[in-house]
């Protein structure tokens, strides 16, 4: 039986959620999962997603090629697998765009084979 205690980040409460689970052939046996310490259903969902498929939204910047090295903020439009966070961050460093840019402009359609768009998050003239 595996056990992990996580801090739920579903809201500012930050519940300490403990999840117990077994593996069957290297995958989590969903029937074996027990979750304690959560005060709402989000705590349970969070704990399960953290042991089965943890994801993160990555935010960063891209260079504005015509603004003297200044940058524009960007984000992945939806969360990506946690294991690809560093890869995505590195990929963003190589990308540049011309200003003006506006919120929602698509920087890249599919970042690092995640199937997720990277979009601009500020309006820069």
């Amino acid at each position: 039986m595996e056990s992990r205690t996580l801090t739920c980040i579903g809201c500012p409460m930050g519940c300490q959620v403990t999840i117990n689970y077994d593996y069957i052939n290297d995958t989590v046996d969903m029937d074996s999962i027990t979750v304690t310490g959560n005060t709402c259903p989000r705590g349970r969902e969070y704990a399960i997603s953290e042991i089965t498929n943890p994801t993160r939204t990555v935010t960063g910047t891209i260079t504005l090629s015509n603004r003297d090295g200044r940058v524009a903020p960007v984000k992945t439009k939806s969360p990506i697998p946690k294991s690809k966070v560093s890869m995505v961050a590195e990929a963003l460093m190589t990308i540049s765009m011309e200003a003006p840019v506006k919120i929602g402009d698509v920087v890249i359609n599919d970042i690092c084979d995640t199937g997720v768009e990277v979009v601009v998050t500020n309006n820069i003239e």
């Binding site: 980040i9 930050g14 960063g60 946690k82 998050t121 500020n122 309006n123």
Partner: protein, 432 residues
Amino acid sequence: MKKKIVIIGGGPAGLAASIAAKDAGIDDVLIIERGEHLGGILLQCIHNGFGLHTFKEELTGPEYAARYIEIAREKNVEAYLNTMVIDISRDKVVTCMSADKGIFTIEAESIILTMGCRERPRGALNTPGYRPAGIYSAGTAQKFVNIEGKLPGKEVVILGSGDIGLIMARRMTLEGAKVKAVAEIMPYSGGLKRNIVQCLDDFGIPLKLSTTVIDISGKDRVESVTLAQVDEKSRPIPGTEEIVPCDTLLLSCGLLPENELSTQMGVELSPVTGGPKVNESLETNIPGVFAAGNVLHVHDLVDYVSAEASQAGKYAALYVKALEAEKDDNLTENSESSVNAKSYAVTTGIGVRYTVPVSINPDRMDDLLTVRFRVANVYKNPEICVYFGDECIMRRKKLICSPGEMEQVILKKADMNKLKSGDAVKICLENV
């Protein structure tokens, strides 16, 4: 020039206040902003997690700001950018300065203070050592990385575990720097839980509690810092020193409300928060001068800044309307005495450091009034209690309270008639 409501600062608080003032029926609203853009510090907070309460979705800082900027534009809120307020007099004359207009004054009927806060600088920390390059406040580093596109260093130690320090630990890591440690002098972090999880734990960055920087080496550039554990009185413990080679030290050691202008004009400040003492209407000791957001007390969630500032905007509008009504009725002489007649003090008991507001006039409060406060320490299973005099009128169990997360209680206007003359409203923790 005359204006009905002048708002000092165009960050999240100023924007929300301006929108609420317009909604409450005052059209003549002006924001004065010293920066080039509206949005304030949100513009450099490019991480996500903003707006969960307000918009029920996770936005980045610039996106959250853009929502309010858009609404303010739709409502034709006037804003002077690149304009610095250098003085406000007690009778509400605002002296401003800008490159294109020079020095000019504005006579305001009401003023909303929304200047935000500043980071505690190295000079306030008494850290020994040389003054080499490579020591930045976390917010300065954030601006370099997220706006200017410059990485301030490659090997980083962060002193203080405030939210900006935690956010910058992740940001610098993702930009290719090595963050070696976050040192926190207190036995707990002052940052939000989710930031500790997602900014440190995710990247294996050690959080060293009860630890501080006792020396900084390097003459031209930081070469190393010496960390040491501290005892319960924050004194370094001999034998626990650890030299950590690095080229950059970021400071995230607390935020201070920016109240130079408020003090100059005679606004009374709380020694605990460093922000103005306000009543239920978020009005300072000077009638018609309101405060909201981080200038009032440092918040951890911008959603609460917006909510608080909306109240300030609404009350400023009501104040202006009351002034106009008085002028019409020619009854100006009796204005102030009637207002403060039935105020009750809000006091703090065990475990509560401060409250906003510090007094309540039930006649002027809405049906519901949010009292915000911070606790003094980390408490497990406390009960948040509200007393009217000796009588406990509200009791709420919590799993945990910590100084890093602002707490609140909501008072009902309908309950306020239980207050007897001379009573105070006391907020305290029990079972601690």
